[in-house]
Symmetry: C2
Subunit: 481 residues, 2 copies
């Protein structure tokens, strides 16, 4: 008999575990002093790693040592208080501890039976979150719908499109495949590329995607949408899905769901609302206007607690009004996955709500975050971020060298130096190279525009002030003030 | 200015973190005493949870208390030494600690620039693993290929099919969509349902899937494959992908890749090898025969270290021979995701290798597992599991009441009581209700068959012996011996 390998004993796990907990706490304590954007050259990290793995096991302390010396310099620090690029990927103590619990439990939630609590906690916490966001009961398990945690908003868009195709074809796509020439999907010119990716993945091809023009505030123009759909229907095409965005990636523009919805209803088109970044702001009653129309018209809705609601990636909360359409699109059952309870249809088997079969116990982290912050704590985080962004915007507006490039209804500020693009590129490059802050960019009305996205867990007043000071003084240098 | 919420301080995180580390260690110490298959009724877990989330934050200790009282009874314990269902989802101390590090770092690996070390460690460790498995350089970044961590083998199958469609259409699917009437995909009648799911997702529909008959050992019959492809080509269809399985979900049958491969080569068909469970066994040179033909013929190959190689879910190692085909199929770039280094094509941006955009730092756990076990430790784990399974099979073979239903080349044993299905259903139900062991079932040659899958981290000699004793004595009771 071959003996078992030497596993790490639980006593060793306790010892190394305490060291790792301290490593993480130390990291959070010192992350503000590290360069937020990694300054390594391509290939530099790999060059520090040995060509071959070790023949015999090494202690975990060796892993931690190499983490410090080789990997940390190669990290861009998303939890740094000066991280303002893209959108935040905010984590928190409760979320991280829950991830540790999830990893330690090591259960699979593909079916109810494979770990009932994994499924039922997810149903429950997503029902909680629906209530916190002001979504109606039809998106919960009390109604005909329900929520599921996807890894990302991209995956939510993909499964929404699959459900839409399933509904539009009355299930025929399952066997017959997709009639690429027949279906069209719609989104604004400013929407996330994930819909194009989903159109490619589902076999529609990007030619099936109609990009609808935007209004002055970069939100989708509902009149243009109506025209596009009407033209397509006249041409014999089927408008299968509209994706409206609540908080676009580029500028956080908010599409008018209350005006897009009636058009979808008129043509029988599935309405998916991608609220990846902004949706969680609706935990604050005064910001709930951003999803006006969702309750009445959306067929599916997704927002990412892993972006701005303190829940570690990956945690996209994806809701559908009619769970039968989603399950119909994705359910394939083989004998080795049959169980008595599933057959009785008394339980949810989340394998049929997503692309992969297996799934981690991700509900634990959302549950821990909601409980440890409480509703008031979540609201305080959102309100704090919004207030910081509004103040930053007033500084930009008050400085004649700069201009605001889009409204900032939430915590993203889009701005630039007036005039040519080149000084703006230099400004971005210079401040990012400083290691103190990290911003990304976008194009607004064909102009190179800087984005300052607030919402990181560690970001405070002083960090936003320091960011403005650095941007302003760097601009002075560039402009030769 | 709205103040920031009260976040868990790093001092509190250290304190609660130690408690969580101890909770996990205690859980591992006691898991063998818990019923492996949860005994809750549908809805029971939800009934124990409050209808609404708390208004104000609660201490993390409250989360742990409810975890104990409400959730743990609702868990099916995948890390229990008596868990023999499906395939193992084996985790380990190093993997769990690395998950904690990954959560604490909270970086996004969607592009090289968003955290270079996240990307480069993944490239490096997957190159290491390719070497450990005996895969040739063409599947590494030293060649034209490379590896990527997907969440699951289902996602690996999906991206392989997308790459195959991209290649077969010379990129036209990107814009034009998929010509569902034209393409066919092939797999054995015993293969995983994930290919059907992928065919539906990609718009081909299940009608495009040809199920190829199997030989006596449940492996794909290459002659039948050749006939099916030849017929389809004659009919003007394009054989776009064959999925061969190394270790089927049902019985761990191993398709003859060395005979399937030449057929794919002849017809220009993409060959994906799904080695989700079994592939990692190739870390042992004496088991490397299972992937005979992969080096010469596979276009893509995937195996799950999260199943049998001690790495916590999710960690599917997915390799392609030609990374350009995969990136061509999945790359969609918008301005807000542009970076100078990406444009220079000197780095890997893993967003273009997968369905979602965002990604966790999953390479850390595979790195930690390989380093802490060393090559010899990984081999010892595989050899131990195989030895335990072989011994169990000898007990079954020696008992006239039972019959083995398939070869057991690795660590899965398929067996049943001779005769009717009903006593076998009762046997399964009775032993699973005992709480001591958990097995799942499949159908082999239309007969209800029990599956005992070995490979869990905690499973030892005595647990397999106890499983046999329970099965044997339960059978005696059922058969009235």
């Amino acid at each position: 008999m071959h003996p078992a390998p030497e596993h790490m004993s639980t006593e060793e796990f306790r010892r190394h575990g305490r060291a790792v907990v301290d490593w993480v706490a130390d990291y959070w304590d010192r992350v503000a002093s590290l360069p937020v954007l990694s300054q390594v050259a391509p290939g530099q990290v790999r060059a520090g790693l040995p060509d071959k793995p070790p023949e015999t096991g090494e202690p975990f302390t060796a892993v931690l040592a190499d983490l410090d010396s080789i990997l940390v310099p190669g990290l861009t620090h998303w939890q740094h208080p000066g991280f303002f690029a893209y959108y935040p990927s905010s984590t928190s103590g409760p979320a991280v501890l829950a991830e540790l619990l999830s990893a330690g439990l090591g259960v699979q939630g593909m079916m109810w039976q494979t770990s009932p609590a994994c499924t039922e906690l997810e149903q429950h916490v997503l029902d909680w979150l629906a209530g916190l966001l002001g979504l109606p009961d039809c998106f919960t398990f009390a109604g005909s719908g329900g929520g599921v945690i996807q890894d990302s908003a991209s995956s939510a868009i993909l499964v929404a499109l699959l459900a839409a195709l399933h509904r539009a074809s009355e299930g025929r796509v399952q066997t017959e495949g997709v009639d690429r020439a027949r279906y069209r999907v719609y989104t604004s010119t400013d929407a996330h590329s994930a819909l194009e990716k989903a159109a490619r993945i589902t076999g529609l091809g990007t030619a099936a995607v109609r990009f609808i023009g935007t209004r002055a505030d970069s939100s989708m123009d509902p009149k243009a949408l109506r025209t596009a759909i009407t033209d397509d229907v006249r041409a014999g095409l089927i408008p299968v899905m509209v994706m409206a965005t609540v908080g676009t990636t580029s500028t956080s523009a908010i599409d008018p769901v209350d005006r897009i919805g009636p058009i979808c209803a008129e043509f029988g088109t599935w309405l998916h609302v991608d609220a990846a970044y902004a949706g969680v702001a609706a935990v604050c009653p005064e910001l709930r206007w951003i999803q006006h129309g969702v309750a009445d018209y959306a067929d599916s809705y997704a927002t990412n607690p892993h972006k701005w609601l303190l829940t570690a990636f990956d945690c996209d909360a994806c809701y559908v009004r009619d769970r039968a359409a989603l399950v119909g699109a994705l359910s394939v059952v083989r004998e080795y996955l049959r169980s008595n309870v599933s057959a009785a249809d008394t339980v949810v088997d989340y394998r049929d709500w997503q692309v992969p079969l297996g799934r981690r116990f991700r509900a634990l982290k959302l549950w821990a975050v909601i409980r440890c912050y409480g509703v008031e704590g979540l609201r305080a985080h959102i309100r704090h971020s919004v207030a910081l962004a509004q103040r930053f915007a007033t500084w930009v507006a008050a400085d004649d060298r700069f201009e605001l490039m889009a409204p900032q209804p939430l915590s993203l500020v889009c701005f630039r130096l007036r005039g040519a693009d080149e000084p703006n590129r230099q400004l971005l490059q210079t401040v990012n190279a400083s290691g103190q802050i990290y911003l990304s960019h976008t194009m607004v009305r064909d102009a190179f525009t800087l984005r300052l996205a607030i919402g990181g867990t560690a970001t405070r007043d002083e960090h936003v002030t320091a960011a403005w000071d650095l941007l302003s003084s760097t601009a002075s240098g560039l402009l030769g003030d």
